[in-house]
Structure formats: structure tokens, C-alpha cells
Symmetry: C2
Subunit: 386 residues, 2 copies
């Protein structure tokens, strides 16, 4: 590609299409910016904007109140001891794996873990053993499975794994595992537990100490109404010196953070949205009620929610044989559902999926959810009679 005028015209400002759609993609519902965050983005958009105020440690910047966010508000919000900003959930997980475990060590993941957990463990060059789930229809992670897997590692290597992780909730079925029981089991073997709260921190109340989490991971762009990439990492006191170890040559700089992480606008959007995010986690019961209501509307249409039922989270996985049947005959084949929804300004079910899909009801609101459910019904009617 020669970088002439014609080529350069392909870049520049690009409009975003489904900007005003009702977006039920689980990746998107919790990351939508508040109005305050949109203002903060423009105000702080330039390059390294926040670094104008930095005395050498990003998370100690007093004005704007990054220090207060990171060292007071977030520890309180999560009930954990030490918090830092990262580039996302996966980067938080890698920082823990890389600092707590050594190359070749074993770690435990739940089989429902997000791909990025497996990849982070591979980047840290760890051996992974997995705790199975109960398969269809509930796909539950059995807490006792952690004991089984830890015992297996001990039998094989003579010592327990360096770390265990649980996804809370998992990103496929939205199941909330029994973390308290899992942490009790892990701790009885002296195995520290990381809780991946990419889909919980910022959506629902989280109390890391009550869960027994030694490490708690959150995703700003996924669940804290922040502009990506930004994540958070909470660590129990006894592990903080290890995970946040300082550089031997540059004693103000933390090695796992490479000195600093989100040097730009994303942290200012997190600060801007924080009051709203705190408030919305206090309204979690309503969100669960919305999810259950939506699940039962789907059931009426023959679309079956998998995972825990009644469900306890906005992320839900559905099996829709009715859409699969339609796709066998529809003009656009398996793309019909995506197009029908798009025509109705609904976005977020991946193009080409019909039989199985996931969606999120988070912050969509009962009126919009009703519109989405009515649209599913209408689409079924339309193709049944066609």
C-alpha cells in the first residue's frame, strides 16, 4: 500500500454504525459510557493527558483524584486491600499469574474460563489444569472439583498448584459459582484464589473478602462504563508486595505494571462514571429481575435459557431451535436473524448465529427488553406464516 492521498483517504474519522441501536451484546451493555464519561473523554483525550499531573507514579496523582479512586474508593468498593489500574481483565490476570507463579508451575482454571485466562496462563508459561462443569443444561462449576484437581496436582508434582482462578460469573452462561466454598477449599491447600470479575465488578455488589478472593479482577470497558482499554486488579495485603514489587533500579516503579498502565483518557472516564457505577451495583436486584423476566418471555417462545435457572445475572445463553428451523428455509439462511434484528435496530447477537446465542439484559431497561422480546416473537410469527 503506497501511502498516497487515495490510500490516506481510507483512514480519518470513521462513523460507527450500531451506535444508536439497542445493543444486547454482553461485551457492550456494561461498558456504555455515562454522559459524564463522554465529557471526560473529550476533555482528557489528548495522548498522555493525565501525565501532566504526574509526579512519577500514575496512581498517586492527587488532582485529578486518581489516587483517591485507586487507593481509597476502589478498595472500599471491592473490599480488597490494594488496587491498581491495568489495561483490562486479561492484563490483570497475567500480572498475577506472572508474579505469583513461576514458569512451569501449575494453576487451576475453571473449564468455563474465558479464553484470555488460558492465554494469560500460556503467556506466563504455566501448566493449566481445569475444573469441569456439569455440562448441559446448567454448565455449573462444581466447587468440590477444585479439591479433586488440586489433589491431582499434588499427586503429580508433590506440591499444590501456585494459583487457582474462578470466573464469576463465567462469560458463556452467566453462572455465579459458589466462590466462598471454592476459596475455602483452595485455602485449605494454601492455594491463593483469583476471582475474575470481568462480568461482575461494576455490575453487581462485590465483596472480595467475603468471597475469600486473594485477587479480584475487573474490566473497565466491559463492566464499569469506561472507555477501553482499562481494568482493575485488587490484591490482598499479603500478596501486594509480590504482585506490585518495585523495580530494583527505579524504586518508584512497579515492575508488573511496567511503571504505569492507563496513561490517558480511560482512567478519567472511570472516574467520571464511578458515582453511577457505584449506584447501579446497588440496584442489582432489579437487573436480576429484568433478566429473569426476559428469560421467561423467551421460554414462552420456545427459546430455552441454559445455565442456572432461575438466573442470577444479566448474561444469558439461549438455545433457540425455532430460529434454527427457520434458518433452514429462510432466504438469507443463517443470517436471517441478524438481519431481522438489525432492521429493528437491535444489535448484539452475532451474525450467523441462530440455534445458540448469548445476550445481556444489563441496563437495557424493561421497556427496551419488552421491545426485544416482542421483536423475537414477531420474527418467529413472520417466518412461521411465510
Amino acid at each position: 500500500m503506497a501511502l498516497d492521498d487515495a490510500a490516506l483517504k481510507k483512514f480519518g474519522f470513521i462513523p460507527r454504525e450500531p451506535k444508536d441501536a439497542i445493543n444486547i451484546d454482553p461485551l457492550q451493555t456494561g461498558g456504555k459510557l455515562t454522559e459524564e464519561a463522554r465529557r471526560a473523554l473529550l476533555e482528557w483525550g489528548d495522548g498522555y493527558s493525565v501525565c501532566d499531573f504526574c509526579g512519577g507514579v500514575l496512581d498517586l496523582i492527587k488532582k485529578p483524584p486518581i489516587e483517591e479512586l485507586v487507593h481509597s474508593a476502589l478498595p472500599e468498593f471491592l473490599n480488597t486491600d490494594a488496587v491498581r489500574l491495568t489495561h483490562g481483565a486479561r492484563e490483570s490476570k497475567f500480572a498475577v499469574m506472572h508474579s505469583i507463579a513461576k514458569e512451569g508451575d501449575y494453576m487451576v482454571l475453571d473449564k468455563v474460563a474465558h479464553y484470555s485466562s488460558f492465554v494469560a496462563a500460556q503467556r506466563a508459561r504455566l501448566n493449566v489444569v481445569t475444573v469441569p462443569h456439569s455440562e448441559s443444561p446448567e454448565y455449573r462449576t462444581d466447587a468440590e472439583g477444585y479439591a479433586t484437581v488440586i489433589e491431582e496436582v499434588i499427586n503429580k508434582t508433590g506440591r499444590p498448584p501456585a494459583l487457582a482462578q474462578v470466573t464469576y460469573p463465567d462469560g458463556s452462561y452467566g453462572n455465579l459459582a459458589d466462590v466462598k466454598r471454592i476459596s475455602d477449599i483452595c485455602h485449605s491447600y494454601d492455594v491463593p484464589l483469583m476471582v475474575n470479575g470481568a462480568y461482575s465488578v461494576g455490575r453487581m455488589p462485590i465483596d472480595a473478602k467475603a468471597l475469600g478472593a486473594d485477587f479480584i479482577v475487573g474490566s473497565g470497558h466491559k463492566s464499569m462504563a469506561s472507555s477501553g482499554p482499562i481494568g482493575i486488579l485488587g490484591v490482598r495485603e499479603e500478596y501486594a508486595d509480590t504482585v506490585f514489587a518495585k523495580s530494583p533500579t527505579h524504586p518508584a516503579k512497579e515492575v508488573e505494571l511496567l511503571g504505569c498502565t492507563v496513561r490517558g483518557a480511560p482512567v478519567m472516564t472511570m472516574i467520571a462514571s464511578f458515582p453511577h457505577v457505584v449506584q447501579r451495583t446497588r440496584n442489582w436486584d432489579n437487573e436480576v429481575a429484568d433478566a429473569r423476566w426476559f428469560s421467561s418471555r423467551m421460554a414462552d417462545l420456545g427459546i430455552v435459557q441454559k445455565g442456572e435457572r432461575p438466573h442470577n445475572h444479566d448474561l444469558m445463553f439461549f438455545e433457540a431451535p425455532v430460529f434454527y428451523e427457520i434458518s433452514q428455509k429462510a432466504k438469507k439462511g443463517r443470517y436471517f436473524l441478524y438481519r431481522e434484528l438489525k432492521e429493528r435496530n437491535i444489535h448484539g447477537i452475532k451474525s450467523g448465529l441462530t440455534k445458540y446465542f448469548k445476550l445481556s439484559t444489563y441496563q437495557v431497561g424493561r421497556d427496551n427488553l419488552k421491545y426485544v422480546a416482542d421483536s423475537f416473537e414477531e420474527i418467529i410469527e413472520k417466518h412461521r406464516t411465510a
Copy 2:
């Protein structure tokens, strides 16, 4: 901190103070957004916005043209084989160090390297040996020093270091080392060379192949008019399979990138600014002329530019005995300079510095530079006569 209404009021939208100032902080001059990038920020600000269009690999998204940026335009722009997005220069450097070298290996850094290079090497658990500079007044990195240091590693360990790095230019004096000579030396020992172009990629023309760079690193928020955090990493073909190795369990996902990196607005600001960034690198001679002009105005005031002279980059380091003298008697002591400049709407020389400081003339423009130089003169006059 109890998260009650009073506490939450501390967060929300926070205005940015030196927003409209003339900013000569080297961290800021190349990261200022274009108007297109400001529009892109608002358009794509929500959480994971670009992921709406992702088929599983971020840098293969066709619409918006991320694939074209990453796989056509940027390789052409830098004359390198394979490019990926990262969270910044330091994250690019860590990815290379972590994938190319093994724990305990040796690597070479120039002594003028940015702290984040040292910290990245520490995170990768490498041993670092450094190539000295020539000390005051030029602080030049001697290319032949790479041979000396490589020989030392060979004598000590029986084999050459796994990697060498050069900072081009360095972040303290803005010196442009003789990279071609350095790469020839490194290659004669089979040592691959990484060029840290945090202050060059996006500011001046860069031809990685002509430089002999096996790895080229850029910083979007520092030098590509992009909203942070975002960086780029260019890799020569023969190393691409190693640095960008795929996950054994998730074959579409690259392990060092944890699957994906800038999942949000920053990449859209890079796309938005790209035409401008390409154009401005073609105007580099004017930028160098501005820097030299400014340096000579400073010289007239008894403020001496250190580093290469005549200078070849917008980042310059000054020694200002005149400001130091004033600070000994001024009311605000060593804070007088910061305050005098602030009163004149000039930002970017760190508060408290008087005798030594660095600044950047990049994209400031001759008129504003004249105003800055006149302001320095005025401040000296004012305090001389006081």
C-alpha cells in the same frame, strides 16, 4: 472511605486545567489529538466499541479499517514486515523481550534508555548490560560501545546477548544515535536489534529496514496524535512467528498480545489521525528547523542546549544557570519559573525545575515558539531588574 454521596461527589467529570495552554512537555506535543481523532473518540468511546465488528481477531477487523491500518498502512509507513497494536511503547518492548529472550538471558540497553526499558527487562527477568554515553555536553551513545558490551557478555556467558535495544531518539537529550552502525554491529554477532521509536515513529520519517531494525516500537499517545494507551510494534518477518506465536489451545489468539490489546477507542483515534501523522512526518525538516531556531534563541539568553548540536530532533535538554540564580532569590524559590510560565499560559516544564529542564518544540509552530522564547526573555528581564 465510605462510598456515600459526599465521597462520590469527588468523582464524576473533572475539568482539565492546562487544556488550552501552549504545552511544550515532550510527553504531550506529539500526542495532541487531531480534530478527526476528537470526533472519533466520542463516536467510539463506549467500552469495547470496536469489538462489535470483531470476528475473533482485533487486528483483522475490516470495517472499520483496522486490518488495513495494521497490516498494510503501518508496515508501509515504517517499512517493516509485521505490525501489531499494543498498549504503548513499553508494552511493545516487553512483548519482544518476553518472547525473544528467556529468563536469565542477557540483553543490551543504551544507558540513555527510558526507565520503562529497564523495567520491561526486569519484568522479563533478563540481565541488562548497558552501553555508556559520552557524558556532558553531548551524551552521545557510541555505536562501537555495542561491540564492547556484546563481547563482554560473550566472555562472561559463552554466548551473545539475546537482544539489544537502542533508543531513537533518547527521551532525555533527543539524540539520534547511529542506528545503522549499531544494527550492523549487533547483526555481526547475530544479536537482533530493537529500536525504541517512542519519540520518532509518527514524528519523523522512519525506515526500519534502512535502520536495520529487527523490531521497531512506537507510542501512539506520545507521537501519533492518538488517545492513550496505544502503541505499535513492527517485527521483521523472521521473528514474527516467535513474537506473535499463536495459542496452542486458541489458535486465532496471539499469546503475547493476550488475544487482543486496544479493544476500544484508542485505535479509532489512531486511524483518525493517521493521514495527518503521515503528512507531518513528511514535514520533519521544518520541525528540525524550528527546534534549531529555538535552541539558538535560548543560547542568546545564556540557556545552553545539551545533546547533539546542531540538534536533529524537537526534544531538547537545556541547562539554564540564569534561572537557577534567579531561583536562589525569587519569592517562590524554585517554583518561580513554573508560575511565571503558567501566568503566560505556557505549560510543560516540570514544577520546581530551573537549572535543567527538557522541552519539545514539536508542532508548536514558529509563532508560539517565538512567544515562548520571548516569555523566557521577559522572565529573565523581570527578575534581573527586580
